[in-house]
Amino acid sequence: MQLSAKSWTLIALALCIALAPLAFPSSFYYRIGAVILVNGLAVTGLVILFGYAGQISLGHAGFAGIGGYSAALIPVHFDVHPVLGLLAGAVLSGVLAFLIGRPVLRLKGYYLAVATLGFGILVFIVLNNEADLTGGPDGMSVESLGLRSLSNALGLGLNTSEVWYWFMGLIVLLGAYLALNLHTSPSGRALRSLHDSEVAAGTLGVDVARYKLTAFVISAVYASLAGSLQALLNGFVTPDIAGFLQSIEWMTMTVLGGAATVLGAIFGAGLLTALPQALTVFAEYEHMALGLIMMLVMIFLPTGLLPSLARQFRRGG
């Protein structure tokens, strides 16, 4: 039986996640791997919003902030398991995205960029200033998700970083599976038609506002879950989780690896998360190098790394 592009993508992704640890020199790298996968989850959501529906957001870290602080605050105030905090955050983010999405998504291009940017910054400011609740700029600690004890109970004997890595691997595979399902589905076709021509999509019966909103809500839930998981992974959360730079990093990852594709964006997440770790050997030149790489990739490989490399490969081989 011939495998679809969807199956290939999932198999490739699963293999990458499963085989990457072979190259890890120490268990510290499992931690970096887990962070990459958290970012991978967020950018998978952005692929739905930007890659499918063509809508920019410079403010999705705002939803990550809501997710992160929900996972931190809800267990403390309502005495429940952190998983409920994570789920409540996802619902909250989805509802908020639904409420602000309609007016925001009427905007296009740079106007959409500034409106989403404004939303993200507002969340950041609130988290920073409501110190009684959030601990302010210093942040607050987050209860453990209990993955380690779960692993022990199952007799897996993994350390905390390892268990997080494998857990995140499963979550990202699930997230990618849903996004890939959407791609070839009726709703996915409607979303992708918006990307190329809103006017044509409208005349073919696509309720443009409704589908934009759908993509916005789904991507907000992805970002919120990524935020929650990041907070739970670190055992700590600061307002920077909702910062402008976080939004920019995610958007950059989405286009750096290869816009519009799930695999490309997760690849971009890996690159942009691992790179600063590698660049620390350049010490004070780290930021210059990062900025330079962002520019060079976008100038010389405008469709993103993965598709451009694939084309080179096909031409060469």
Binding site: F50, I56, L58, P103, V104, R106, L107, K108, G109, Y110, Y111, A113, V114, A115, L117, G118, F119, I121, L122, I125, V126, N128, N129, V199, F244, I248, M251, T252, V255, L256, A259, E284, Y285, E286, H287, M288, A289, L290, G291, L292, I293, M294, M295, M298, I299, F300, P302
Partner: protein
């Protein structure tokens, strides 16, 4: 009343800086459709270069001129090396490129200069002037006056001079401008140069009040971007009004409501304006052609 006046003065001062950044955005956007997120770095370069040259014994006026010239050169290089080669790239690619440039310039400044906060003396003394019970430092007048003067100079340049008209023609319709013999690439380079010089000048004027450091650019870029969008992207008048509005809203909020939420107020106003006027206060009202 004196309290209100005091807030208005400080609002006008920061507003003038935002307006200059927004004008820089507008110039580049009009010539090339690029929103340059490295615009704040020009302001940083203006302030930092002046501060370092002045500290090494250069007269302030010469240090300021050199700083503006260096900012302009960086602007031209940015266009030649990063923006022109990426011609036709998508909005998001261009955002990534200019934010990359911003991060790069910030990193460079941290190495060339340092990570400390710097300033140099005000141009005409530091003694506050009393006006109807409120006070204003002389440098504020330089900043506000500078902002208005630059706006007026740009207006005259764009509408009266041949080169300025060529820039406007490029902004209006690049293909048509090319057909009538305008070298649109030169116009883009010129816009980047002027825009960077305007940013550099903003840094020179504002540093005695706001101080400067290698990482001040990004927050200025965000405010300037917001101001430009509030006014309506592409409209110089919109940039000026948007800049002053954001400065005033910020300082009034800080004064009367809460200093922690002054940044929030500016962004809330932007969201409300965009929801009711999707193209800003002075943006073009055009129907999409199909």
């Amino acid at each position: 009343m004196s309290e209100f006046l005091q807030f208005a003065f400080s609002g006008m001062t920061v507003g003038a800086v935002y307006a200059l950044v927004a004008l820089g955005f507008t110039l580049i956007y009009n010539a090339s459709d690029v929103v340059n997120f490295a615009q704040g770095e020009f302001v940083m370069i203006g302030g930092m270069v002046t501060a370092f040259l002045y500290a090494s014994g250069t007269p302030l006026w010469l240090a300021a001129l050199l700083a503006i010239a260096i900012a302009a050169v960086v602007g031209v290089l940015l266009n030649k090396l990063a923006v022109e080669p990426a011609r036709g790239a998508s909005v998001v690619s261009l955002i990534v490129i200019t934010i990359g440039a911003s991060i790069f310039l910030r990193g460079l400044a941290a190495i060339v200069f340092d990570k400390q906060i710097h300033r140099f003396p005000a141009f005409t003394g530091e003694d506050p002037i009393g006006i109807m019970g409120a006070t204003i430092v002389p440098q504020s007048l330089w900043v506000v006056g500078g902002g208005l003067a630059i706006f007026a100079a740009l207006y005259v340049f764009l509408t009266k001079s041949v080169i300025g008209k060529a820039v406007l023609a490029t902004a209006n319709n690049r293909l048509a401008a090319k057909l009538v013999g305008i070298n649109t690439n030169h116009m883009m380079t010129l816009s980047f140069g002027i825009s960077a010089a305007v940013g550099g000048l903003a840094g020179v004027l504002a540093t005695p009040i706001t101080l400067t450091s290698y990482d001040m650019g990004i927050s200025l870029a965000l405010k300037g971007f917001a101001a430009a969008m509030l006014g309506g992207m592409g409209s110089p008048l919109g940039a000026l009004v948007g800049g002053f509005l954001i400065g005033l809203i910020e300082q009034m909020t800080a004064g009367y409501l809460s200093s922690e939420y002054k940044d929030a107020a500016a962004f809330i106003v932007i969201l409300v304006v965009l929801f009711t006027m999707p193209r800003g206060l002075f943006g073009p009202r055009v129907a999409e052609r199909v």
